[in-house]
Symmetry: C2
Subunit: 253 residues, 2 copies
Amino acid sequence: MIKQSGRAAEHSPIFVTVDLVIFTVRQDALQVLLIERGNEPHLGRWALPGGYVRDGETLDEAASRELGEETGIDGGRLHLEQLRAYSEPERDPRGRIITVAYLALGPELPLPTAGTDARAARWAPVTSLLGRAGTLAFDHDVILRDALETARSQLEYTTVAAAFCAEPFTIGDLRHVYEVIWGVTLDPSNFRRKVTHAEAFLVPTGERRFPEVGRPATLYRRGVARLLIPPLLRSGDVAGTGTSRVAAVRRER
Amino acid sequence: MIKQSGRAAEHSPIFVTVDLVIFTVRQDALQVLLIERGNEPHLGRWALPGGYVRDGETLDEAASRELGEETGIDGGRLHLEQLRAYSEPERDPRGRIITVAYLALGPELPLPTAGTDARAARWAPVTSLLGRAGTLAFDHDVILRDALETARSQLEYTTVAAAFCAEPFTIGDLRHVYEVIWGVTLDPSNFRRKVTHAEAFLVPTGERRFPEVGRPATLYRRGVARLLIPPLLRSGDVAGTGTSRVAAVRRER
DNA sequence: GCAAAAGTGTTAGACCTACACCCATGC
DNA sequence: GCATGGGTGTAGGTCTAACACTTTTGC
């Protein structure tokens, strides 16, 4: 049994949840999966999917399980990574609940069926949700904003953009992901050079895709590289001193 | 009160701690603060400082409080940021305890006095601790390794290196931080150009420091920039495909 | 003067942006 | 042919690594 040291009341155990920010690119927009809450608190409001961490389960496992429950997708097939923990004592009116947010990225996913404590589920364009606070339940506005900036930043330094594309995919598909998530248009020829020169990012399958119109495109699969070297920097937003932004960068070997 | 939904036993509340990776540069090495544990489990082993999150406290507040308790330093004066949560069910033999690791950076700090549940405290060179697993208690080896890679990466994209320098500092001081943490030697003139051209990174004080030998150096304080634009990339370790590394990048506005 | 660290200048090559241009396909 | 997206080439500017060189101090 757990033995508390010191004054017992000072550190009570805490309920821990995971919340998922599931991004996909569909209809020329970055979209996030939302559920309509079927229980109090925030009954009827839109929120990120999530749930309690169960006994004996790691956070990663809880996130993967919730992902499967909410989308019907095998969690192992999607890119899934921990974002950060959110711990404001008043963030949940039921009591002290800390949540660990996860970022999940995938190619166009089916609309999931509503789960046990959700009345409905839908894909929502991310940009339409930001800007006005209080759109989502709890502190999910903040989590979503953090997740968006993480995703945008990760496109620069990692190969996760490929996680948005169903394999096999074309360079045009990949460029579309960058354009939608960054909200810019990119030069097709320069983009091609960069991604094809980054080693182990793209592996040609030898096949081609024949579009409705235009020249057929070479098809690729994801290579084994996870870091994008050299990085593919957004150039548009370096204006100014960067004083209003804080960056945290993490890398594992 | 907290109302559990579903089968009650499936998601019990969990004890939550914060653990601190406190880095400083001293004696030409990156050093981390360790404490010798004065209680079971792992009595007598070296570990990262940390403690339980108290009722009504955010994780940031808990980290800041622990930092003050362990180092005697006003937590608000140090760079402090959340790294990530660690949640292996078996990571602590006392039971289910999740920890959220924090990274703290500061200029040469005093050796702290041992706290209530620590027999001793010391600074240890980081490189001497890595390589062999099982050096530290719990999963603190893993946390330390993650923190080191985060710190190394952050020097590239942010201005946190200045957090290792007591103000006012010289460009040589700053370069020394980069050299020690990256384990490389940098060209002084090119380094100077990069950091002085990065806007709002360094603010000259107008004063100079007169060393034992050599030309006096201009003194600077940290500017308001938190992102380093353009980044100051490590070039030495880009060899290979990057296949063995995973990157997670996060940015806030 | 000499050693040492600060600081400036220069040059060759890498890289990047913008854009012209060619290619392969459906209709 | 023509429209469309795929894909290649290239000139000009920018950035950077490497290193020669000058400056300012203590001794």
